[in-house]
């Protein structure tokens, strides 16, 4: 069935802060790769787009085990760009609503349903890391601003926006969203993996699902 939304998973980066010299998509979490966990979350979504760059061949091979119908999008400039560029490249020819999902993110399966909608939003979670980007919200939970210093919650993604509002950027996804604030906020349980400590937390997070 055709749908007006696409999910863009950005897996192009080199994951430098993790220090494993390996793309995060292939991290082993409880016997499965991170990308496999993510694809499981999106099993009912028709248009899955995986943005690849660093170790593209290995990521593609892993994804094809689960989703032969994925569309792979190349970010050849992955070293010089950030997630904003990958999101734009993944989104520019996609369906009307594009859901941005960072390749280092795990969202609780009970919460992912709230995110798979054709409506604009920004998802955030309780603060877990020190070096995160934070969001400030109003009383209804709408996102008012992003900040690297402090905020009410941690910006984790995903986010959904109409693709027509996106422009190419070498910066971060939150920079692309900033000019469209305020936006509806959705609070979720999520864990992203930037550091080795985050990786350990992600394993505990997944254990908590069972």
């Amino acid at each position: 069935m055709s749908s007006a939304k696409s999910v863009i998973i950005s897996c192009a980066g080199i994951g430098s802060r993790l220090g494993l010299a390996q793309t995060k998509a292939l991290l082993n979490i409880e016997g499965k790769s991170l990308i496999a966990w993510q694809l499981e979350l999106f099993k009912d979504i028709e248009d899955i787009r995986i943005v690849v760059g660093f170790q593209a061949k290995a990521v593609i091979k892993e994804v094809l085990k689960y989703r032969k119908d994925a569309i792979f999008v190349y970010n050849h400039n992955y070293f010089e760009t950030k997630t904003g560029a990958s999101f734009y490249l993944g989104a520019k020819d996609a369906n009307e609503y594009v859901i941005e999902y960072d390749g280092d993110l795990l969202v609780h399966p009970d919460d992912i349903k709230k995110c798979l909608v054709e409506e604009e939003y920004i998802a955030y979670s309780e603060k877990t890391s020190d070096e995160a980007v934070f969001v400030r919200t109003d009383e209804q939970g709408n996102v008012l601003s992003f900040s690297k210093k402090d905020g009410d919650y941690e910006w984790t993604g995903p986010a959904c926006i109409k693709k027509s509002k996106l422009k190419y950027s070498t910066g971060n996804v939150f920079n692309q969203l900033e000019e469209h604030l305020p936006m509806k906020g959705i609070k979720i349980r999520a864990q992203d993996i930037d550091t080795y400590e985050d990786y350990q937390r992600a394993i505990d997070f997944v254990r908590g699902w069972k």
């Binding site: 248009d47 593209a56 094809l64 032969k68 119908d69 569309i71 792979f72 999008v73 190349y74 020819d93």
Partner: protein, 199 residues
């Protein structure tokens, strides 16, 4: 308007056509290894093509044309082409005389290589198609050009196309193709979804 330019072998067809010819006529393995080496980019396309035409040109043209009409196709890709035939063209290095019936069956405009036919054989090769020229032609006409291909001889066309889609439907695309591609797909569902999004 968007113009979709398709490679033929392995992109619209689900089997490569030259090995099919060599099997049918029980040619030696020379032609198959030649095709493989060419697809992988180990032999320059033009050199390989001239050698292939020299070998295959001695075979009856009408029999090859009939044989290739029966080659297996990717049904969803062919459906997309027939529903959007004005937006779609084929760019193939194959000789016109070998694929005329197949192209008629697919039902869109086709750019191809050409030769002089005499006594049901290829007497002389007169034109080898450069796919990049077809891309330039449509770009200069103001079209947004999407190129779908998999082989080394698609690379220059894909490099200059507005959107380059590497197709892994029949075999893994050549490495050179991946280095200039915007997209990579491994299923007809993914390819046709993407093509419809690009319409």
């Amino acid at each position: 308007m968007t113009k979709f330019i398709f490679d033929l072998d392995g992109t619209i067809t689900s089997k490569e056509t030259l090995p099919l010819i060599s099997n049918h006529f029980r040619l030696n393995e020379e032609i198959e290894s030649l095709t493989k080496e060419t697809v992988e980019g180990n032999i320059p396309f033009i050199e390989s093509f001239i050698r292939r035409v020299y070998i295959l040109g001695q075979l009856p043209v009408d029999e090859i044309d009939n044989l290739l009409e029966t080659v297996e196709l990717h049904p969803k890709v062919v459906d997309f082409i027939s529903q959007n035939s004005d937006n779609c063209v084929i760019a193939t290095g194959n000789l016109e005389c070998w694929i005329s019936k197949l192209v008629k069956k697919i039902g869109c405009k086709c750019y191809h290589s050409e030769g002089i036919i005499k006594d049901n054989k290829v007497e002389k090769l007169t034109k080898i198609l450069k796919k990049e020229n077809i891309v330039s032609f449509y770009k200069n006409a103001g079209e947004k050009v999407v190129f779908i291909g998999d082989g080394n001889n698609d690379m220059e066309a894909m490099r200059i196309a507005d959107v380059a889609i590497a197709s892994g439907l029949t075999h893994k695309p050549a490495k050179s193709v991946l280095s200039v591609s915007d997209y990579l797909v491994y299923s007809e569902e993914a390819l046709c979804r993407l093509l419809n999004q690009l319409l």
